[in-house]
Structure formats: C-alpha cells, structure tokens
C-alpha cells in the first residue's frame, strides 16, 4: 500500500473548575476532600502573600532579584498535593507553593534570593532539589533521580517543573528522550505561562499545544487548566499512577499565566498588553477557588480575615528568620567546594589572597612591606 497511516494521536485538555466557576461534578467529585481543599487554599494565599512581601523586600533593597510566582500557585501545589511525600520535586523557580506544601521552610526560598547558598541546603528527607536558575537544566537531574529510584527498586518517582521557554533548550529534549527510551518514571510538568521574560510563547513553540512536545518521545501527555487546582490534582494523580505503575514518564502542560513581571528586574509593560494581564486576572487560581469554596459554604469572609492575619504573621516570621540568620562566614564558599579542601585552595582560604607572595608570605621574610591602610569593602 503506497500511502499508509503509521501514526495517529490526540491530546486531551482537562478542566474541572473552570474560569467561570463551573464545576464538573463527574470529574471533581471526591477528588479533594473539603478539609484538604481549605488547607490548599490557605497555602496558595500564603504563597501569594510571600510574593508580595518579597517584592517589597527587593524594592527596599533587602533582597536581590526575585521572581514572583503570582498566578501560578495551583500548578506546583496541586502536584505536591497529589504526589507522595517522598517523590522527588525538582523545581525551577516558580514552584514556591508546592515546595512550601512539601515542607520547605519559607525562609529557605527567601535566603536563596537574598544571595545565600544556605537557602539551597534543603533537608534530604524533603525530597526537593533547590531552585534552579539556569533554564532547562534540572529536568535531566530529575530523570537521574527517578532512574536511581528505579535502579534501587523504590516506588519513588520524580516530578520536575519548567516553563514554556525551557522547552526550547536541548536539555529538555534529552531529558524527555532518556526517560521515554530508558523507561524512567518522571513527570515532566511544563508551566506554560505564555512568556519567557519578554519572549512570547509562540517563539518557543508555535505548535498548538506544548503538550504535544511529548509526542516526539511517544510519551503520554495531557493538557491541563493550570489555574484550576482540581484539574491539576487530577492530572498529576493520574500521571503519577501511570508513571509509578508502568515505570514510564508522563508529560503535563499546565496552562497558566505569569501575572507579575518576570522578576523584580523586569518591567513587563515594555512588551505585553495590559489587557492580556487583566483578562488572565479573571482566571486567577486563588479567586476561582475562593468563590467555589464560598459557594460550597466551606469559606466565608471572616475566615478570610483571620487567614489574612495568620498568613501575615507567618510570612513576617519567615522574613525575620531569613534576615536574622547570622551572616555566612566570609570564607564559607571555600569550604563547600570539595569534600576535603585541596592544599592549594586551603592556602587561598587561609590567606584570602591569590597572589603567590600572599599565599606564601614566608617568601617575604625579612623584607619590609609598606602597609597601606585599606578600608575593607563594606558588607
């Protein structure tokens, strides 16, 4: 037969609580117990508040560049909720909400953006890797982490997050391809927020969906309304079940939107329409869920008021902890380079010099060196 069909596929989109507040009972029923729902809502509000506080900290010079997570909370939160507590979470930098749910202390994320590596020293029992700055690189680590679990016969899987922009990087491709061909249980969760700094999504992927990236690998894939916590929970739960039972990877495109600037160093008004942002504000995962909970009588204004108070306290305490942690030792960065410091590096550390006469001052024995009073740089 000269022309035959060798492949066909289709991709589904899942939505449960849509942007108009319509809830699909069939898919949504029993998905999230009410008690949990309230907690999840509270977690999103806390995360949003941290975002606002972090923004102000940056503006007042108390923190470096900070990328707000605003608008994207449901994706990582729904995933962290649907996964087992010892599944790996391998984030980029817009997954605060999921990390906090897992148990990463808020101050660690703050410390990271305050320019302190101790913010990355995440306790191993949390099974989270630190925020990833270089785009597109952490998915390979997730694949390796999940592979190690498979190698050891553990039931653990990995879920890694990345943006639409990240799917343009070669490493994204290699991670998906390794996982698909070597049967490694990873969930690839793409937070499609339509922008990579100022570059619109169509420059990263002009195909109708990002979910179809997975077709290249024969990988299962689904598109999900990423601003709908229910849909996210369902998609991740299904994907996790599939991945855990088959050992194969699964792709999820969580369609969302970056409501804020890319980071505090960015001014999104330079490149995107206010109308677009306004439109997406109406699809905010938090307001959507609040309306739903109110309708179901799970929530009311007084609860909202007391939540607001609690959250303010919680975030303020985290900021306090981050800001009052003792400054790192000025030579800290030498000590964590290797398990054991090489002799050469020890000389640099102990002398805080690199020039030979500084490292080995004995060469100057008997020589008179003029001392300058050099004000040390301010800290």
């Amino acid at each position: 037969m000269p022309i035959t069909k060798v492949f066909s596929t289709e991709i589904e989109r899942i939505s449960i609580l849509d942007e108009h507040g319509k809830f699909d009972e069939k898919l949504g029923k029993g998905l999230i117990p009410d008690k949990d729902l309230v907690k999840l809502y509270e977690a999103m509000v806390a995360c949003r508040h941290l975002d606002e506080v972090a923004f102000r900290l940056q503006r007042s010079g108390r923190m470096g560049t900070y990328p707000q997570n605003m608008g994207q909370e449901a994706n990582s939160l729904g995933a962290a909720y649907a996964l087992a507590n010892d599944d790996w979470l391998v984030p980029c930098y817009r997954e605060n909400c999921g990390l906090f749910w897992r148990g990463v202390p808020m101050e660690m994320v703050l410390l990271h953006w305050m320019g302190d590596e101790r913010g990355n020293a995440i306790p191993r029992e949390l099974f989270c890797t630190p925020l990833a700055i270089p785009i597109g690189t952490q998915m390979l680590h997730a694949t390796g982490l999940a592979w190690a679990a498979k190698y050891r016969g553990e039931k653990r899987i990995a879920c890694t997050f990345f943006g639409d922009g990240a799917t343009s990087e070669g490493d994204f491709h290699e991670a998906c391809n390794f996982a698909a061909n070597l049967d490694i249980p990873v969930i690839f969760f793409c937070q499609n927020n339509f922008w990579a700094i100022s570059v619109p999504g169509k420059i990263q992927c002009s195909a109708p969906t990002l979910a179809q990236r997975a077709v290249a690998y024969g990988m299962k894939t689904v598109q999900c309304d990423g601003n709908d916590l229910f849909a996210v929970v369902k998609c991740v739960r299904d994907a996790a079940e599939f991945t855990r039972s088959t050992g194969k990877p699964h792709f999820i495109e969580g369609v969302t939107y970056r409501l804020g600037d890319h980071t505090t160093a960015d001014d999104a008004r330079r490149y995107r329409d206010a109308a677009e942002v306004e439109m997406w504000k109406t699809r905010d995962p938090i307001t959507r869920l609040r309306a739903f909970m109110k309708e179901r009588k799970l929530w009311d204004d007084s609860k909202e008021g007391s939540l607001k108070e609690r959250v303010e306290k919680e975030v303020a305490a985290a900021v306090e902890r981050a800001e009052t942690i003792a400054a790192p030792n000025r030579t800290d960065f030498f000590d964590s380079m290797y398990a054991e410091i090489p002799e050469d590096l020890r000389l640099q550390r102990d002398s805080t010099q690199t020039h030979g006469l500084g490292e080995n001052p004995s060469q100057l024995d008997g020589v008179e060196v003029r001392k300058l009073d050099h004000p040390e740089h301010a800290h």
Binding site: P134, S168, V199, G358, Q363, E368
Partner: protein, 322 residues
C-alpha cells in the same frame, strides 16, 4: 561626541554598524522589543525591524548554531548570550564549530560572528550570572576574545569585532555597564583587535588587567601612590604580548589582575609568557590577583570573592618590596 555609559556606547556601535551593513543581524533572548535585559539593544528592534533584531527561542546552542549558518552564508550575525553562565550550552557550537570552520574547510567557509555576552560579578545577581569565562575561549584556537573596560574602547572594539572575518567573543563587563561615562565620538572609529592600551605609564611596576578589573586596578594604583604602568589588555586573544613585554622589561615587576578563578585563568598565560620573554629582566616573581579557585559565591559573599583594590594594592606593595 557624547558622554556615554558602556551600555550606550555598545548600543551606538550596533546602530552604526547595522546602518552601514545590512549583513549585520542581531539575535538572542529578549533582544527584541524588550531591548535586552540590560537594554543594550534598546531601540534596535523598532529601528531595524523584527527581521534584523530577532527574539530567539530560549536555547543558547541554537542561537550560536544558527548564527554559524547565517555567517557561513555570508551574513554578520551578532548573537547575544544573556549572561556568562548561560554560555555553557553554547560551548560546543562555539568551540567545536564556529572556531574550527575556517580551518576544517581550509577557508571555504568562515564564521564571522560576534558573540556579545555580559560577564563578571559585582551586581548582586543570582547564581551563574557572574562568571568570567575568557580563558576558556582563549584556549580555543580559532576564537578571538575581546573585553573592553571603558565606553570609548567598547565602541571601537565592537566595531572591529563585527567587521572581523573570524568569530569573536565580545565580553562586556556588566559591573561597569553604567558605572561611569566617557566621551565617545559619534563618528565611526575602530580600535584594532590585539592591541593593548596603556592606561597610565609608570616605571616601578607593570599591572596587567582587563575588563571591570581595570577599574579596581586604577583605584589600587592610586592608593599605593607608586609609579605604575597599567596595561589594559582589551583583547585577550590575540593578546598584545609586545606591549606587556616592553613594559615588564622596563619595570622588572608585574602584577596581573582578573576576576576569573586563578587556576588556568588568563593570568597564568600572561605570567608564563613573561617568564618566557622577560626572564632576565624580572626583579620579582609575577603575581596574580584573581578570583579564588571556588565557584563565585551567591551575592552575600561576592565581594569577598572578587579581587578588589585592597587585594591588588597589597600584591603591588609586596611585589615592590620583594
């Protein structure tokens, strides 16, 4: 003549070369309507259009690899890599392809690209936003490596780089993007690649540096009050050994200053060359004030990492006393 920052001087050079030569095209992440995250390409998208100032997918190997193809076809791409630390994914296309194309085809194909990259520390940026990779690319035969330390030089060097028939890594010290202004002629001028600049003359000692460190060196020299000859290399490869040699033969002492880690930094090469060329003239061992052999720490400690005027001045004093 206008009083410009380094960012403005580079922007001006880009505008003028693009006006003059329609083979020049710019591509990279956020270089379009946003004008680059440091605003170096500000206004170019509007002025020259989306076909000449192209927002690319987020993929550094792709940016360089397609630039190679553009250049093989006769264009003069000026790709931007957003930060030093994101050169990594492009390393292969740069070193295995761009740098080798001319020799592997015995000249049938060439790759006249100018890769603009903001480099170096000191701006309180996140991880992988503060590296100084010049010696990596200086080790790659076929590459040229340029790093200006002032607005005036930046304009003249960038124009030379764009016109150069071979691939050039054009490293922009982001710490001094807006740190000071300088008179920069509106008229076109070039500064030839491979020629160092004597920032100030002196007889007691030679200090060799490049990029943002030149500024720290000037501070340190002032602090010591000594008669010191400061050489700004400007081009890392091909480097102006003649200038270094002449100076060190005159002074007999030398301190080299750079931000990159000491081990296998370009300072090692300069020191080794001085050994080879000026042995009998040396009155003290050549010293290197450099980044430590550690990863650049996050910003709380970055000033403890970067060579500063104190460390430089101390090395100068110790070398003088030796």
């Amino acid at each position: 003549m206008a009083n410009l920052t380094l960012v403005q001087a580079i922007n001006l050079a880009l505008v003028q070369e693009m006006e003059k030569d329609d083979r020049v095209i710019i591509l990279g992440e956020d270089v379009g309507p946003n004008g680059g995250v440091f605003r170096v390409t500000e206004g170019l998208h509007k002025r020259f259009g989306a076909h000449r100032v192209v927002d690319s997918p987020l993929a550094e190997s792709g940016i360089i690899g397609t630039s190679i193809g553009l250049a093989m076809a006769g264009l003069r791409p000026v790709p931007e890599i957003q930060f030093d630390g994101f050169l990594g994914p492009a390393y292969d296309q740069l070193c295995s392809h761009a740098a080798r194309m001319r020799t592997r085809t015995r000249g049938a194909f060439t790759v006249p690209i100018t890769v603009r990259v903001p480099v170096g520390g000191g701006i309180h940026a996140p991880e992988l936003h503060s590296d100084s990779p010049e010696s990596i690319y200086a080790h790659q035969p076929g590459m040229k490596v340029v790093m200006p330390s002032s607005p005036y030089d930046a304009k003249g060097l960038l124009i030379s780089s764009i016109r150069d028939p071979d691939p050039v890594m054009f490293f922009e010290p982001k710490r001094i993007y807006r740190a000071f202004r300088e008179e920069v002629p509106e008229d076109e001028y070039v500064i030839p690649l491979g020629r160092a600049r004597v920032v100030c003359e002196g007889g007691e000692m030679t200090v060799v540096s490049w990029g943002a460190s030149v500024v720290q060196c000037m501070q340190a020299i002032e602090r010591t009050g000594r008669s010191i000859e400061l050489i700004d290399l400007r081009t890392i490869y091909p480097f102006d050994m003649a200038a270094v040699e002449a100076s060190v033969k005159k002074t007999g002492r030398c301190v080299i200053v750079h931000e990159a880690p000491k081990t296998c930094g370009f300072g090692a090469e300069i020191s080794a060359r001085i050994m080879e060329r000026c042995f009998l003239h040396l009155e003290a061992p050549v010293q290197r004030v450099a980044g430590f052999d550690t990863v650049m720490p996050y910003y709380k400690l970055e000033l403890d990492y970067l060579p500063d005027a104190s460390r430089i001045a101390r090395a100068i004093e110790e070398t003088a006393a030796y």
